[in-house]
């Protein structure tokens, strides 16, 4: 089959590889009908996520049709149209029992490695480094899905593939950011980053009762989508004084919730940005947490900073004094997609949201490598690229 494979920094190509097969009794094989490139895939393209291996198959946002199931999978059959949550979860461990599937104890074959890096191991993830299990991803024609009796969810008939696809990652990731912030109706939410996750976070903040959402980015086209599609007030990172503007817009109180949907490769400016870039290049720091620093400084007293943006290692110069002094709450982590699939399908079925608004490019899988470069450089007003095998 054909698959997009990682070979190093800015080195991704379409390769012919073996078709996947059932390995464990709870596996299934999915014929991919649609996949997409996630913002976090760009971190892989940029080579800042450790433990990728040359030849790894990429992709953790995908859906398709069940073509084969293992002996222990009895809730799915050939022909079922499913979405596959990006974290791989066993459904049996303590964390799965409390619906925290991204923290599954059992799905990461390299748990020992993650324990050395993080203390305890999170769940395995499709196509996202060997620290997260080294599972082959879904930017391919076929993919093996472990614990298929737990992960894949059948798609309601009236939804199109494009409507359902983002329930695998970016939609619930934006939703979880608002859900875990647990804000009061009438709150003000600020969102750093107007990529797909940030855009969904804006929509979900309104769905969950926020009165105002203020979006921050440095790309005009994304800010304009945030304003026109999602109804956010917008601030331009390069033109507006962010901290002062947020204070002014909230009567001097600051936002109640600050969502950092940027992650480890934030664009900043000035001396600190050069400092971060130098340290990241020298691997002395694995992230450039400019947006996170700003979110902490901007957040109002007693507020909550939520981090759906991906971080992979160690970062410097976080203003902990500000976080402590203002009594902030931090929430973060990979998304527990499994717990959101059904409620989000309902929101789509009720016409409360149409997730396809983030799609800017529809291209065949064979042109996927070029799409990575386009997304990395944010060319052609790109936000979300979907790939058809």
């Amino acid at each position: 089959m054909k698959a997009l494979c990682w070979f190093g920094k800015e080195n991704i190509s379409l390769e012919t590889v073996d078709d996947p097969k059932i390995i464990n009794p709870r596996d299934a094989i999915v014929r991919v009908s649609l996949s997409s490139i996630c913002g976090s895939d760009i971190h892989l393209y940029d080579g800042v996520i450790p433990t990728m291996e040359k030849g790894d198959i990429l992709g953790h946002e995908f859906m398709g049709e069940i073509v084969e199931v293992g002996d222990e999978v009895d809730n799915l059959e050939r022909g079922d149209r499913v979405v596959v949550p990006f974290p791989i979860a066993c459904g049996n461990c303590h964390y799965c029992h409390i619906d925290s599937h991204a923290l599954c104890d059992n799905s990461n074959p390299n748990a020992w490695m993650a324990e050395q890096a993080f203390g305890y191991s999170p769940a395995g993830i499709f196509g996202y480094s060997h620290l997260y299990g080294g599972y082959a991803g879904g930017q391919a024609e076929y993919v093996r899905v472990p614990y298929a009796d737990v992960g894949p969810q059948k798609v309601p008939e009236e939804l199109t593939d494009e409507q359902a696809l983002f329930v695998t990652d970016v939609f619930p990731t934006g939703y979880q950011a608002c859900d875990v912030a647990d804000f009061e109706p009438g709150s003000t939410v600020a969102v750093w980053g107007c990529g797909p996750v940030g855009l969904f976070a804006i929509q979900c903040a309104y769905m969950l009762g926020a009165e105002r959402v203020i979006a921050i980015d440095h790309i005009d086209s994304r800010l304009s989508t945030a304003r026109s599609e999602c109804g956010a007030e917008v601030l331009h990172l390069d033109d507006d004084p962010i901290l002062e503007s947020l204070s002014e817009m909230t009567g001097g109180r600051g936002p109640d919730v600050c969502i950092e949907a940027v992650g480890m490769e934030a664009h900043g400016g000035g001396m600190v940005d050069w400092y971060d870039r130098a340290k990241q290049t020298l691997r002395m720091e694995t992230g450039r947490p400019h947006a996170l620093r700003q979110a902490i400084m901007a957040c109002g007293k007693g507020g909550t900073v939520v981090v759906p943006g991906v971080f992979g290692g160690v970062i410097d110069k976080l203003p902990m004094g500000a976080a402590f002094g203002k009594g902030l709450t931090f929430k973060m982590g990979q998304t527990h997609v499994h717990r959101y699939v059904d409620p989000l399908f309902e929101h789509i079925q009720n016409d409360e949201i149409d997730p396809t608004f983030v799609i800017t490019h529809r291209i065949p899988l064979v042109e996927g490598a070029a799409a990575y470069e386009m997304l990395q450089k944010k060319e052609d007003n790109s936000i979300k690229v979907v790939l058809t095998p």
Binding site: I23, I57, C90, D105, P109, G134, Y147
Partner: protein
């Protein structure tokens, strides 16, 4: 002994090990016929030093044969030599403690463990465990070097759903003792497993090779074994990426990161 904080039940395990008679560290030397070895060696030496004629060479030959017979007559020579090498001299005991939480009630976890013949399913270096009777079992392990070791273990304390302690008995290739405790968590829906294993590793050059296997990675090996146990109990299978596609050729491997175990 332990470097970690203790629960009441692990204290019970420690007590069980202490109250049992001290681990028998016999060196395997009793298997050697020392009269034959020493007499034969003396005769061999006498003959070799004089070397004046046929009689002296005959003495040397007979002496060598006697010495060999002294080493080999009780059991196969390789077995006595192996045990001699394993137990001559002493090194510090390797003391490994590790914990794992299993999302199954203590009754299930204990029952699986108490059926000792289940253990090779997750102890990756154990080839077989054969229950001799209710308290005694025969263990065979294979080291990465290909060397196979066997021992007989006796259960010295058995508290249903709570504690299992064992000790290897006289004549074992490698002496070990330990205990596993099973404590309920999550309102009895889960089990906290504390394993504590003490090895008395062999010395000498031969022993050093074995100890180098045991020492640095032993805690990780036991931890990984426990993780396999947890995963089998909870999910019925072990997660793997072995056999999945990638754009690597076969000689580049499958990209799987080897566990820290050898």
């Amino acid at each position: 002994m332990p470097r970690h904080s203790q629960t009441d039940m692990t204290r019970e395990g420690q007590r069980a090990l202490r109250s049992s008679s001290h681990t028998d560290m016999e060196p395997g030397l009793e298997m050697i016929n020392w009269g034959s070895v020493l007499g034969g060696s003396a005769l061999f030496a006498y003959g070799m030093i004089r070397r004046r004629g046929f009689t002296d060479m005959l003495f040397a030959g007979i002496g060598a044969a006697l010495a060999y017979r002294g080493l080999s007559q009780t059991e196969l020579v390789d077995r006595s030599l192996k045990r001699l090498a394993l137990h001559t001299g002493s090194t510090e005991a390797i003391d490994v403690a590790t914990s794992m939480t299993v999302e199954c009630p203590p009754e299930e976890v204990y029952a699986f463990w108490r059926n000792l013949e289940n253990l090779p399913q997750f102890m990756r270096h154990i080839v077989s465990v054969e229950a001799v009777d209710d308290r005694n079992s025969h263990w065979v392990a294979r080291l990465p070097t290909g060397l196979s070791l066997s021992w007989r273990a006796e259960i010295i304390e058995d508290r249903e759903n709570e504690l299992l302690a064992w000790k290897s008995v006289h004549g074992s290739d490698i002496y070990n003792e330990g205990f596993v405790t099973f404590e309920p968590v999550f309102d009895g829906a889960g089990t906290e497993l504390h394993a504590h294993i003490i090895y008395h590793p062999p010395a000498g050059q031969f022993g050093a090779r074995i100890a180098s296997f045991f020492e640095p990675v032993q805690a990780q090996v036991i931890r990984e074994d426990l993780r396999c146990f947890k995963r089998l109990m909870e999910t019925g299978e072990l997660p793997t990426i072995e056999g999945q596609p990638s754009a690597r050729s076969r000689d580049q491997g499958n990209g799987r990161y080897e566990r820290l175990s050898p």
